[in-house]
Symmetry: C2
């Protein structure tokens, strides 16, 4: 057994422990009775500790010193990714990691109550401690991976992308939005109010329809489940993907589009290269890449006129009512509406980047120490005024709305918008490569699109970095012009 | 930190890994899509390997050499049980354990098909390999734990009980059965045929009723779930118990009594001493003890006239129909019927021990090498003829019916009948100690019974061995006369 073989065996073991954790996390959100929460936390902590122990065991360094993966690009990328994971895991003292885990968990609990009561002061001390430990972590990690502290954090979510890649893209978008948003609003206002389908819509019927659409998009029932949870997500493992949603009796659009969004994530997991299962190179290419896959299915495909023209009759069949509510143009008017709002997760695709741009700017300030936690609510509200011209009436609808920072996740937010931009860029390339893609969407058939994604994204695992993946798939690195062109076509023409 | 403290921390970690495995096993049976099976097997194998590694790490032996638990009976029992677990884990070479895992898994797969086609010859070579490895394992383990090979296997399921304890009890039961069974049959035949409630019975209605009865017996919904699986079981962890059943549209009695059976198991887990959670002394006292708890709820409490008199009207409410079907005497006649049958899991409480006695005898022969695998079908059929006077028409209804041996579980079967006997003994003691227990059952109230079990069984964890547990709870070690008295009262008087 070569040193490289020993490393692949070890990483397979680590990945298998992570699979177990993924299933337990899914269970915790979708199945677990409340009385199981404390024990579940312990289970996840022990498994995380065991995986960390496997990654940082003393003999691993010797194997890395001796290992060679030869000339094969997959194996050499795999070895490079293994080293990267090992370096990240060993760069920071274990007691700091433990202190972070405790502080994040404590802060997240306090945040839940603080958000409910819109009381930022109640969580500010805990958040200050989370920020303080995050800065220590980023300061320790940065030099070891050759990145700035903030970029070292971003690298943990989307390898190879840093603030310098993101900032100009976001700056350009801000300029686009300032001009496009009022125009889109004016155009929208000039049209008749769309007809809203009349509920109640039975959750079981919504669920059956979600299953049907998800399966029609290519997610195999024998390798997936759809369940309910407070917050929709895609979890599980590549051969057993678990997606969740929630159902509102008065509106089926959120569950339906939410399930298609998670289906996009799930199809990515399903399409990963099985020859490199449980190896770093066989994993997804990062969170921005992941988000591109959910958004290409939800935003690019399923909210298109073509798909809506197929979907409308199905909706009418499931939820009999006024047929005018189910025409393509009415569904388009309902489900492609721009609106300046306070809440990121409710935002439309045009204003969503503004929410991300704000967070990107603020979290850089927090990590750099330029922005004090106490000044966060004011900075937030100033940013919302500048970006969208609105000011949240309270912090619950402002800087308390998202879990990320309160749970210690800094550097994640940009992935959402990088993913949205990549989705538009990939869709443009898929259409160029695949004649008749719109006609196929109009027949409810996502397979040609998913097939293209399999070849150009899913099946490539993390062989390539984000920009190289886009370059090979579309002929260029991340280029937001496909996204703004998409928005222009959809909202301004 | 003392050596004992280090050991308790280590065993807590091991138990937490086992909790993760328990949840994944539950998921595998109740939730997992078929495409997840291969990965799930890997996940369970890796977690088992990590737990085994924690138990057998080189520094553990040093801690055992240095550890003292002082005079406290709980801590000294805990240390004793830790040593016992460590000795069992280190007694056998790792390559033998791995060979067993592979052979058991391979044999179990072949058995599924062999049972379907009733083709013993197809699985005989695999079973021979399983038996061969089991014998090697038992031969290696026995001397280290100071037990005969077969007793060393039994000890893995119910500590402290060996063939010498079981054999005379089973011999006496055989004598009882030879006389009692024909009398019970004759008495039964002399009565009018009971009225069978007319279905179909909607699974959802059955499930709602099962939940209600289980909760009324004291199983808290915030610490448990009830789901569906091909084979009913109780899994999960003490703060998050997962029970399963299956529903037949033509008969609700199996799901109902099955759920009460699993509820008995679940209440045991729920009642374990929380001060010793995740420590060996805080676990259940073994498989016979566990079975006593399911059977005291199902057989002793829920099939009693008292409970049936409360249950009848509830059944009529859930499944409206002929009220005559729901009288106490009719339900008793339906659900307390003796019948010579081929299948253990379908057997009534009087003939069930005959199925176990047969297996106990045969598996001793297999482990000792006195019975060749090729001779198993003949020996099985001879045994059935001698014990119950019937001969299975094929091996599917004979020696192929149970998974246990084909999955490498030898020494387990006696636990079923020891549990049935202990259940009768505990019920007799609970009635002596608890005035009005029958009246409470007639009000559907199992809490006084469960309270007694909590004090005398659940809350004691594995502080005591099986016989000592019974002695302290009932004034005597295992004594089958309470069981035969129970059968006599129920079936012969």
């Amino acid at each position: 057994m070569t040193a490289y073989d020993r490393l692949t065996a070890r990483f397979a073991r680590i990945a298998t422990v992570h699979e177990a954790s993924a299933m337990l996390s899914w269970d915790g959100a979708a199945m677990m009775p409340p009385g199981g929460a404390a024990a579940r936390g312990d289970q996840l902590a022990v498994l995380a500790g065991l995986a960390h122990g496997l990654l940082t065991a003393p003999d691993v360094a010797d194997d890395f010193a001796a290992a060679s993966a030869g000339d094969d690009p997959w194996h050499s990328a795999n070895l490079r990714l293994m080293r990267h994971a090992h370096i990240r895991a060993t760069a920071v003292p274990a007691d700091l990691i433990e202190a972070q885990a405790r502080a994040n968990s404590a802060c997240e609990k306090i945040w839940r109550e603080a958000r409910r009561t819109s009381d930022f002061a109640a969580v500010a001390p805990s958040l200050a401690e989370v920020v303080n430990l995050t800065r220590q972590y980023a300061d320790a990690l940065g030099p070891v991976v050759g990145l700035s502290p903030y970029d070292a954090l971003m690298d943990g979510f989307q390898r190879g992308i840093g603030a310098a890649d993101v900032a100009p893209v976001f700056d350009a978008y801000r300029v686009f939005l300032a001009e496009a948003l009022p125009r889109a609003e004016a155009r929208q206002a000039a049209r008749p109010t769309p007809t809203r389908p009349q509920g109640p819509f039975a959750p079981d019927v919504q669920e059956a329809l979600c299953r049907r659409l998800s399966a029609a998009a290519g997610l195999e029932p024998e390798h997936s489940r759809l369940d309910r949870s407070a917050h929709p997500f895609c979890g599980g493992t590549p051969t057993d993907v678990r997606i969740t949603t929630r159902y509102r009796e008065d509106d089926f659009s959120q569950s339906l589009m939410g399930v298609m969004h998670e289906t996009g994530h799930a199809l990515y997991e399903r399409g990963l290269p099985t020859a490199y299962a449980r190896q770093p190179v066989g994993e997804t290419a990062g969170m921005a890449a992941h988000e591109s896959q959910s958004l290409i299915v939800e935003m690019q495909a399923c909210r298109s006129d073509a798909y809506l023209s197929w979907l409308g009759p199905l909706l009418l069949e499931s939820f009999p009512g006024d047929p005018d509510a189910y025409t393509t143009s009415n569904l388009g008017a309902l489900w492609r509406r721009v609106e300046r709002g306070f809440i990121r997760v409710d935002a439309d695709e045009m204003t969503y980047p503004a929410h991300v741009i704000l967070r990107f700017r603020l979290e850089q300030g927090l990590v750099a120490g330029d922005l004090a936690v106490a000044d966060l609510p004011g900075a937030w509200n100033d940013g919302m005024r500048a970006l969208l011209g609105i000011v949240p009436p309270d912090d619950a609808r402002g800087c308390l709305q998202d879990i990320h920072w309160y749970d210690g996740a800094f550097g994640y937010f940009p992935s959402y918008t990088l993913g949205a931009m990549a989705a538009a860029q990939l869709m443009a390339a898929a259409k160029r490569d695949t004649p008749g893609l719109d006609e196929q969407l109009a027949a409810g058939d996502l397979r040609p699109l998913v097939g293209w994604l399999r070849r150009h994204v899913h099946g490539r695992g993390s062989l390539l970095g984000f920009n190289d993946l886009l370059r090979e798939a579309t002929g260029k690195p991340l280029d937001p012009s496909d996204f703004t062109a998409h928005l222009t076509a959809r909202y301004l023409e």
